[in-house]
């Protein structure tokens, strides 16, 4: 794990505002994600967590404020350019190509790294073929890594929800991102599935050196695996710090954890 708080910021979010009509989804939020850490973003429903992730990877553009990724300004960059810089994400509601196999879905994650064009890929000869073989190997490593060999050729839509989430994580990992944004990777999972995903997240962070920001509701998981926690509430950042600090932060307890969580 990273040296606590001492890591270099890989991403800086500065005073971001987003409004939908009169609704202020984010109201001047600033935060830093440090290189090599696992940062958890928590907060009650409607706190602006997903909006924050969406603004980082360019789905939304902020009405005010700036975002810097490795000192490049992302603020108004289109999202496929942001992805090419090394930011990958998963979605709260699984967003896979249901009719495509697991293998092909994960291969999509490699798409930005492919340089041969549509036509030479169609002919599948020479450079295009070599390239595909190279990428297939990377995809196979992800499959091995996530222990989903048995569903390699299964259409994603036929899989149970927990496995679909795992495949989605695989697609994000296949892009070999520097920063991985996970939007509720464990929602709707049972304890065993959650433990599996938690292990994959830790492994991705430690073995692949991926910086991870995740939104998660399961406090047990958040406290266990994250290095730092940022708390949002109604578009405001109301706290940040180590899991220990957050657990003892009066404001956070009041807004989010409820008084029972003090033990």
């Amino acid at each position: 794990m990273s040296e606590e708080n001492g890591g270099q910021p890989i991403l800086r979010v500065e005073d971001i505002h987003i409004t939908f009509g009169i609704l202020k989804a984010l109201n001047g939020v600033s935060l830093e994600i440090h290189k090599g850490e696992i940062l958890a973003i928590i907060g009650p429903n409607g706190a602006g967590k997903t909006s924050l992730v969406n603004v980082i990877n360019g789905v939304y553009h902020p009405s005010q404020g700036h975002i810097f990724f490795e000192d490049k300004d992302l603020t108004i960059m289109p999202h496929h350019h942001i992805a090419a810089l090394g930011i990958a994400r998963t979605f709260q509601n699984v967003a896979l190509f249901k009719g495509m196999t697991v293998l092909d879905n994960i291969m999509v994650g490699r798409n930005l790294k492919m340089r041969s064009n549509f036509f030479s890929q169609g002919i599948y000869w020479g450079f295009a073929q070599k390239e595909e073989i190279r990428h297939r190997e990377a995809v196979e490593r992800v499959i091995d890594w996530l222990e989903i060999e048995h569903i390699r050729k299964t259409p994603a839509g036929m899989l149970p929800y927990g496995l679909q989430k795992r495949v989605e994580l695989g697609r994000a990992l296949a892009a070999e991102p520097k920063l991985l944004l996970l939007d509720e990777p464990m929602a709707g999972m049972n304890l065993e599935e959650k433990e599996d995903i938690a292990r994959f997240i830790l492994d991705a962070n430690e073995e692949l050196g991926t910086t991870i920001a995740l939104i998660e509701h399961d406090m047990g998981v958040v406290m266990d695996i994250s290095d730092r926690v940022v708390v949002l509430d109604f578009g405001d950042k109301i706290g940040q710090g180590t899991p220990e600090e957050i657990r003892n932060n009066e404001k956070v307890i009041k807004a989010y954890l409820g008084t029972t969580a003090q033990k």
């Binding site: 297939r136 190997e137 196979e140 490593r141 499959i143 091995d144 890594w145 222990e147 060999e149 048995h150 390699r152 292990r199 492994d203 430690e206 073995e207």
Partner: protein
């Protein structure tokens, strides 16, 4: 094949010289691709690992345990131990901790080779309790980054140490291999007993190799054969095929990518020899049937018709009868339309031999596979006999038997009906357990604990565990489990208890299978309110009576069992349930308890009553109890002479 006096490592060196890089010894599916290891790779990897072990303090006679899925590295580790005069002790990865602790402690395994983090964690938990354990070596580095303990090393690290060691000890490996003698222990295989602690079966190089040669001679294995290595490494069958036979025949073993992909990987490999326990054969058949139900109407009809043709043809063949020309034509058509494609789909298109053993396989299931052209055979063997000691010769397969003794194997039936075996494969004894050894080995005969009979053609029929077998008043052998299994092969019968010890005749108490009998009743428009109600419907009695009749017919074919046909039976009003202590959690019948609980029913079965009233206490899952009252009918069953 190596010469008769070699050890396994000596054969490995022979194979390296003979095949080198030209022939594949092991394939493993990794990253979606079949990775091949030639005999030279096998030898080189084994050698590096062995030298690493030696430099880490592995001595002649030391034990090395492996735990994990079938992986080339684990096979090399076992082989490396053998090369150094050590002894492999494979472990079941799904064994409970207490059992693992016992085995490692009892075998005093010094080195453990574990597949991955999961297995390493198990071994770490045991290391505090078992003092003999010195070093844990892992293959898959995934998740192992925080394990800094000095006694944990990776497979690659040990091999690197081995390479260093070789610089100063260039002929060490050869010399160690040459020191081995055929009478050295080659394997300690622990058998999980149903009672008490597991026993360590010691097998020598000579045991394994002679037995392997007996089998391969009668079956005619070739060095071009392909075998799947997917069953647990701790099971004797895997050691025979993936360790001893692999070396001796020089064929190729194939390790699947993961346990969950074994069946799919099999299709890619197209093995020529495969071994599946009865459960897998049954599952495959069920999958076929379920898929056929979803198929188009015309395909369903075609399948049903041609499977029926195959069944008729194989019935003739099993009885050694001639098959009519018309039927032969239809069979050829079926081969083209159904059987061939089906075999291909199962990955059994190139099978030369398929085996089942371990438990009873229903004759219908057995015949299904044979009828579609899969050469399925039932064999018999124990860990103590280095696995297989009977075989079913091609062209002389009988569904119920386990075949005839392999040449060189002597089998006789004791006074008490127990199967006794004398063969070069029979083990010298249990590891550190002289009492158990002297119970099992008397005057050179192995007492198997299985009850069996020879049929009129000299085929061995295993009928039950010897301790459960008793006699009727007229001295006929009564093997309850054998008859119960036959009953349970019926889809309508879920559980059965047969009685007869010391009685004039055999009777049975039967549990119907609610799902299949329920479906049957729906199709026949028979209304019912509950399990109890359904079980006592006269139509259901007729249905079950017919099933009992079939069992009796099959018993009557066996001279020695003819007297043990079911004379009277009743259908129980409730399911036998572990909550009511009638069966164990693993669904073994608790005979003593049932004899007491259902004493009235048993008395009625051995009277001429046609009805018996019964009141039983049942326990619900939440622990509440209730009484159910019923009047059970008793039926006479048709008896064959």
């Amino acid at each position: 094949m190596g010469n008769a006096h070699s050890t396994l490592p000596q054969i490995l060196l022979d194979n390296d010289r003979k095949y080198g890089r030209d022939k594949i010894a092991i394939r493993e599916k990794d990253l979606g691709i079949w990775q091949s290891y030639s005999w030279a790779d096998y030898c080189e990897n084994t050698k590096k690992f062995a030298l690493g072990l030696a430099s880490l303090g592995f001595q002649r006679g030391d034990r090395l345990s492996v735990i994990g899925d079938n992986r080339p590295q684990l096979y090399w580790a076992q082989m490396a131990a053998l090369c150094l005069g050590g002894i492999p002790v494979p472990l079941y990865q799904d064994a409970i901790e207490k059992e693992l602790e016992y085995i490692i402690e009892h075998s005093e395994a010094k080195f453990i080779v574990a597949e991955d983090q999961e297995q390493v964690d198990k071994m770490l938990a045991l290391k505090e309790k078992v003092s003999s354990m010195e070093m844990i070596i892992y293959d898959d580095p995934r998740g192992m980054r925080h394990y800094n303990q000095p006694f944990i090393k990776s497979f690659a690290e040990v091999q690197a140490v081995g390479l260093d060691f070789e610089k100063d000890h260039s002929d060490f490996f050869q010399k160690e291999v040459q020191k081995g003698s055929p009478e050295d222990t080659a394997l300690i295989a622990y058998t999980s007993g149903t009672t008490g602690n597991p026993k360590g079966v010691v097998l020598t190089h000579s045991n394994l190799l002679t037995n392997v040669r007996l089998i391969s001679k009668v079956e005619g294995y070739r060095d071009t054969d392909r075998v799947m290595a997917y069953l647990p490494m701790a099971w004797i069958g895997d050691s025979i095929y993936s360790l001893a036979m692999l070396l001796d025949i020089g064929f190729t073993i194939n390790c699947p990518e993961a346990a969950t992909t074994a069946m799919r990987d099999m299709r890619e490999v197209g093995p020529t020899v495969v071994f599946c326990p009865p459960r897998i054969w049954e599952n495959i058949l069920t999958t076929i049937q379920v898929k056929m139900e979803d198929a188009a109407w015309i395909k369903q009809k075609m399948y049903a018709f041609l499977i029926n043709v195959a069944h008729r043809v194989s019935t003739h063949q099993l009885k050694h009868q001639a098959v009519s020309l018309g039927l032969r034509f239809l069979y050829a058509l079926g081969e083209f339309l159904v059987y061939g494609p089906l075999r291909d789909n199962l990955g059994m298109g190139r099978l030369r031999f398929a085996y089942t053993a371990g438990a009873a396989l229903g004759p219908e299931v057995f015949q299904f596979y044979r009828s579609i052209g899969i050469n399925l055979k039932q064999v018999y063997g124990l860990t103590e006999t280095s696995a297989m000691c009977t075989y079913q010769p091609d062209g002389d397969v009988k569904l119920e038997t386990v075949g005839i003794p392999c040449p060189g194997v002597e089998i006789k039936i004791s006074e008490g009906g127990e199967v006794l075996i004398k063969s070069p494969g029979v083990f010298p004894g249990y590891y550190k357990n002289p009492e158990a050894t002297s119970e099992a080995l008397k005057d050179g005969w192995l007492y198997t604990g299985d009850a069996g009979i020879f049929d009129k053609d000299g085929h061995l029929l295993i009928i039950d565990r010897a301790k459960d077998v008793s006699k009727l008043a007229n001295r006929t052998i009564f093997a309850p489990q054998f008859i119960e299994n036959k009953l349970k092969f019926s889809p309508y019968i879920k559980e059965a208890v047969t009685l007869g010890q010391g009685q004039e005749y055999v009777t049975a108490m039967i549990n119907i299978d609610l799902q299949s009998v329920g479906n049957w009743a729906e199709r026949k428009n028979i209304g019912y309110t509950s399990y109890t109600d359904l079980s006592q419907r006269p139509e259901v009695y007729d249905l079950i009576s017919n099933e009992v009749k079939k069992v009796n017919a099959s018993l009557s074919k066996e001279e020695k069992l003819r007297g043990a046909q079911i004379r009277r039976f009743l259908i129980l009003h409730k399911e036998l349930d572990p909550d009511d202590a009638e069966v164990t959690r693993t669904r073994k019948i608790r005979r003593g308890f049932i004899a007491k609980k259902y004493a009235e029913l048993i008395d009625a079965l051995y009277s001429d009553k046609e009805n018996v009233d019964v009141e039983t206490k049942i326990t619900y899952e939440d622990g509440r109890t209730a009484n159910i009252r019923a009047s059970l009918k008793i039926r006479e069953a048709e008896i064959f002479q």
